[in-house]
């Protein structure tokens, strides 16, 4: 079964700094999709960014970008110019190739301090 690992349970960063959240995954599929979700204290799950495995270019959404290393099965999220509103749990997720299901990591709590 596919697994997704977020090894850092918690991080903190100062406002305006850059922070990188790590994620590794294990799959035997050749094509798959990877996602980062954000869950602020409101509890709502929000899609931050997605990456298609067959695309070499790293995805970017405003201050959020990924470093996708397919051979290493690594999918890290970089948040630039951190803001207080970035304080949240962050979950990495992967779909299982042709499956309809996502597998989630256990999450990482990010705190942005003023």
């Amino acid at each position: 079964a596919q697994t997704v690992t977020q090894s850092q349970p918690e991080m903190s960063v100062q406002e305006a700094e850059t922070v990188t959240l790590s994620c590794t995954y294990d799959t035997s599929e050749s094509n798959y999709y990877l996602f980062w979700y954000k869950q602020p204290p409101s509890r709502q799950m929000i899609l931050v960014i997605r990456q298609e495995a067959y695309k070499q270019q790293n995805a970017t959404e405003n201050r959020f970008s990924v470093n996708f290393q397919k051979a290493a099965k690594s999918f890290s999220l970089k948040i630039s110019d951190s803001q207080l509103g970035d304080t949240a749990m962050y979950f990495c997720a992967a779909d299982q190739g042709g499956s309809e299901k996502l597998v989630f990591g256990k999450g990482m709590k990010l705190t942005v301090n003023p």
């Binding site: 997605r50 298609e52 996502l102």
Partner: protein, 115 residues
């Protein structure tokens, strides 16, 4: 927000009682999912549906059943609630849009407490 609502948003119930959680979507998505979220476990899939009356189990399906009689509604039932089912439950849909669209969008969640 993909037009997903969940009801109730909060519920406290006693051990042994049946509980049904409802997920409603307004955009005709084919795939719907039920997850539970517990500290240290992330989100774990309970059941999912790929069409009306078409459902399948996830990794933590024991003690749960689901039904989907209409495209827009996906019900999760705890036949006899136990304290281990105290959790936050999320419904999700998989976005429609053809090839390469795989992301899921989530409802606001239901906090269930079993005493």
């Amino acid at each position: 927000d993909a037009g997903i609502t969940q009801s109730p948003r909060h519920k406290v119930t006693e051990t042994g009682t049946p509980v049904t959680l409802r997920c409603h979507q307004t955009e005709n998505h084919r795939y719907m999912y039920w997850y539970r979220q517990d500290p240290g476990h992330g989100l774990r899939l309970i059941h999912y549906s790929y069409g009306v009356k078409d459902t399948d189990k996830g990794e933590v399906s024991d003690g749960y059943s689901v039904s989907r009689s209409k495209t827009e509604d996906f019900l999760l039932t705890l036949e006899s609630a136990t304290s281990s089912q105290t959790s936050v439950y999320f419904c999700a849909i998989r976005a429609s849009g053809g090839y390469g669209v795989r992301e899921q969008y989530f409802g606001p969640g239901t906090r269930l407490t079993v005493t």
